[in-house]
Point group: C2
Chain length 259, copies 2
Amino acid sequence: MAAKQTVTPVEPLIIIITPTYKRPTRLADMTRMSNTLRLVPHIHWIVIEDDNYTVPYVEDILRRSTHIYTYVAAQTPAGYPKRGWYQRTTALRMLRNNTQSVMRDYKEGVVYFGDDDNSYDTRLFTDYIRNVKKIGMWAVGLSGGSLVESPKVVNRTVVGYKVKWGGKRKFAVDMAGFAINLNIVLNTTAVFGKSCRSGFGAPEPCLLEDMGFSQTDIEPFGLDEDAAKHDVLVWHTRTTQPKFKKDPSDAYDEFVVEL
Amino acid sequence: MAAKQTVTPVEPLIIIITPTYKRPTRLADMTRMSNTLRLVPHIHWIVIEDDNYTVPYVEDILRRSTHIYTYVAAQTPAGYPKRGWYQRTTALRMLRNNTQSVMRDYKEGVVYFGDDDNSYDTRLFTDYIRNVKKIGMWAVGLSGGSLVESPKVVNRTVVGYKVKWGGKRKFAVDMAGFAINLNIVLNTTAVFGKSCRSGFGAPEPCLLEDMGFSQTDIEPFGLDEDAAKHDVLVWHTRTTQPKFKKDPSDAYDEFVVEL
């Protein structure tokens, strides 16, 4: 029996870019995120460590995730205002320089910035992200001092944003609230640069403006005007960093942990 | 073709008891936990709401979990020192009074108290909990002011506990750090009673003493003395409750959220 070795996938590949860094709750966060992603097919998981070295125990989690992954170290250089910007930038450049090695036999891709401490309903991937043709947007729970931040939709078109923080931004959206078709990523050089300001302006609208998007490009997901209630499919959660009683650090030598 | 309708499962059923309550991060936490459990077969998920009513949106998550579940409301009456005790007690009584409706065709079961905000590696269920014959114990990350709390094992026997909090308790173990074979649960009437003190003594060792366990009954998992490093398979994590900017509560009427 000759098995057909390569079948071109019909589905678009979801490329998830996750910046990460060492902290006591990280292995727990990454394990939970990995569990969620194991339920979704056709993913390439790009994880960028904010350090000079990758961490073997994080790579073990990625290996168990059952997905193709890329795991590299890229320590934030001086001048970047916030954690994660340089790592996302590194991933975007890698994607542009090594598109084939990420895409393999896939014909289409969608890029999503998925942080390791957020909470994801798997339908975010299967019903929203997988279907993004240009730029998709949706509601994000527990973001910006709101129970929900969301694009405002009239006649199936995004006309503004329901947010309590930074409502005057051109794209008032959290990192977890949008995904971009790979073709658009590949046709620009936009990154999360040092010039993207922290706080009011940035970095999400900075990237999206640099990519040349206008409001009419946005495809809203899960915001049908005739629905009685909308499910929130992604939450901007944070895991509390515990307070530890003082202890010699070698007390945990026999366990896989991070300080 | 006559399909065989009932096949007696060879695996023990894992009965997970999860107390829960309304809070802004709850739907995110339950979604993440449900994603993890979807990866593990042979589970019955008992969820007890600390309220007079169950919540339809929580039940939607349980329905999507792909597991058989039981979801009931049991508001904590006066006199219980901590959240969750009365709900776990309710679940234990239900299990004793309605064993057949939970067990169905399963011949063996294991009971685990799995809170909705903790982080679980799926191997906790497949490699540890599923194999508990009497009472199993293992390391818990980020518990009691420690990076890891763990039973102390010598010659494959638990001889004490490596903890920084409450080390003199007879069973110095977090709720996430043990599971009990159903037969033992059914042969006792032990519950998390009001007489179980909060703080130093309770409630875990109180329950385990009332069930008649002694130290020699404990089966340690994942603590082989010759291993170079042990993986932590469960973490006592907490999701930070966000601070919300003031807002009329009806602003979120169109989304499924909890205040």
